[in-house]
């Protein structure tokens, strides 16, 4: 991307930032409703070394742990559901019951099961992200072109080879799509569970600062977690591109 193009892309953001700063500085809007960007930056610097770092790290640890378990388990069960009849009969109805459920309904359940600490947050994110990943792996494996399967079989591939060399690669785009959805859901569930009830984590910090009236700090927290969510999504997109480079 050339410098000129980058500048043109960033321009709207710069304009918005300047308008924000001007509105806050001029007193057009109350500093409580909209702290100036410079005061938010100052709060960020002040918080970054201590509270903000600690709470953000706690949140990311929870999200990461749940996600790292949910992704392989979700992909494996999705493909097994599509591939093996007994597994399908056993698990597909469960999947169909869970799929339409708005995932945030699980928050109170994990609270009564596991309390308000790490275990409840991690299991919430795990359960919430598992369903879209299983669903995408199932749809991906089910949607594999029949011709590919026939070709592989007629060339003498065993069932195991067909599964690993044909079904999994062919389902990969759909699976990566599901992982991206799950990643967004991971952040939503993480922040909401921490906003509702927690002892630490970025959602807890945002809530705490807001209740204490430190709105510049609260904005700094919101911007931090938004930036991390954005970065995670970009990383997921980059990984997808790398994994699917062979398709071009």
């Amino acid at each position: 991307m050339t410098a000129g193009l980058l500048l043109s892309r960033a321009m709207p953001l710069v304009i918005l930032a300047l308008a924000w700063e001007a509105a806050a500085r001029s007193g057009m809007v109350s500093e409580y409703a909209l702290p100036s960007l410079s005061s938010i930056a100052a709060s960020f610097v002040k918080l970054a070394g201590s509270d903000l770092y600690y709470h953000t790290a706690r949140s990311i640890w929870r999200g990461l742990l749940a996600f790292v378990v949910a992704v392989p388990l979700g992909i494996a069960s999705g493909i097994l559901i599509a591939w093996f009849l007994p597994v399908r009969i056993l698990l597909k109805p469960v999947l169909q019951c869970l799929y339409p459920m708005p995932k945030s309904a699980l928050i109170p359940l994990t609270i009564i099961w596991l309390g308000i600490g790490d275990a409840s947050k991690i299991s919430l994110i795990f359960l919430g992200t598992l369903v879209p990943i299983v669903m995408s792996a199932f749809n991906g494996a089910r949607g594999v072109d029949q011709t590919l399967l026939w070709t592989a079989r007629s060339l003498g591939a065993t069932e195991r080879e067909v599964l690993w060399e044909v079904v999994v690669p062919a389902a990969l785009p759909e699976i990566m799509n599901g992982i991206r959805t799950a990643l967004a859901l991971c952040f939503i569930l993480m922040v909401s569970a921490e906003l509702i009830i927690a002892n630490d984590g970025i959602g807890y910090l945002i809530n705490l600062l807001g209740e204490a009236g430190d709105y510049a700090g609260m904005f700094a927290g919101v911007i931090t977690i938004s930036a991390i969510g954005f970065a995670a999504d970009r990383a997921c997109v980059a990984l997808t591109r790398w994994l699917l480079a062979w398709r071009e």
Partner: protein, 284 residues
Amino acid sequence: MTQALDANGAPFAGTLGSRLRGDAERWRYALEAIGPFVTIGVILIAWEVLARQQIVMPFLLPAMSVVVARVFEDLVSGSLLYDTAVTLYRAFAAFAIAAVVGITLGLLIARLAAVRWFFDPLLSIGLPMPKLALLPIFMLWFGLFDMSKILMVAFSASFQIIIATWAATQSVEKELVWSARSLGASDRQTLWEVVLPAALPQVLTGLQIALPICLIVALVTEMIMGGGGLGDTMLQSARYVDSPGVFAGIVEIGFVGFFCIKGMELLRRRLLAWHQEVQKEGAR
């Protein structure tokens, strides 16, 4: 239509070859048709037995019969109806706002270069952002009542709709637009009679993604801010360690989510009755 007859909902069948295999295939279909009900039945019975025999603490897992009785109780007392109405009002009001704003903005972005220049970077940042983190700011700006809840939900859902509409409008075949123009259609006619119908399938997909987001976020706003609704009632139950209440809430919300998704699918089939996607299905 042999292929369509075979498909019959069975994912890996549906080919001419499998039809010739005869009896074994037919057994497979039967198993696949009946199996899920058996599984669900076994799970429900296991649930009841585990809870009744106190193998799992009733506090962690109240018996199914207790939960069903609780749902029934909520239904008779009218609280279920009230909570559902409140939650759906918030979710659907927000969905409507997000749909109108999202489709309009999506169209404008696709058609006007200046609008596209301004919104493109904002969208690429806004779409993957966890928008729910902004809730405390919405509470600060719009108070603790319906206004902030509805706006938060609408904001969370609108990005998907904008992106879907933008992509859909851009991928409308140029030939369609040229034909309409050369036949003397005005700009407005081209928009309403050609571009929008051609973009509709993808726009609807965007809306189908946005509706579950609306429900998820509406429930969270209720859990955080209170003010009635299914989310509020469920969190209250969790606070008072009333586990039948929590499980009843999950069942109730599950049904609400199911009907919303089915409703959108029905709407899609209605609106796209003229489209090949639905007509192919109808031929089955």
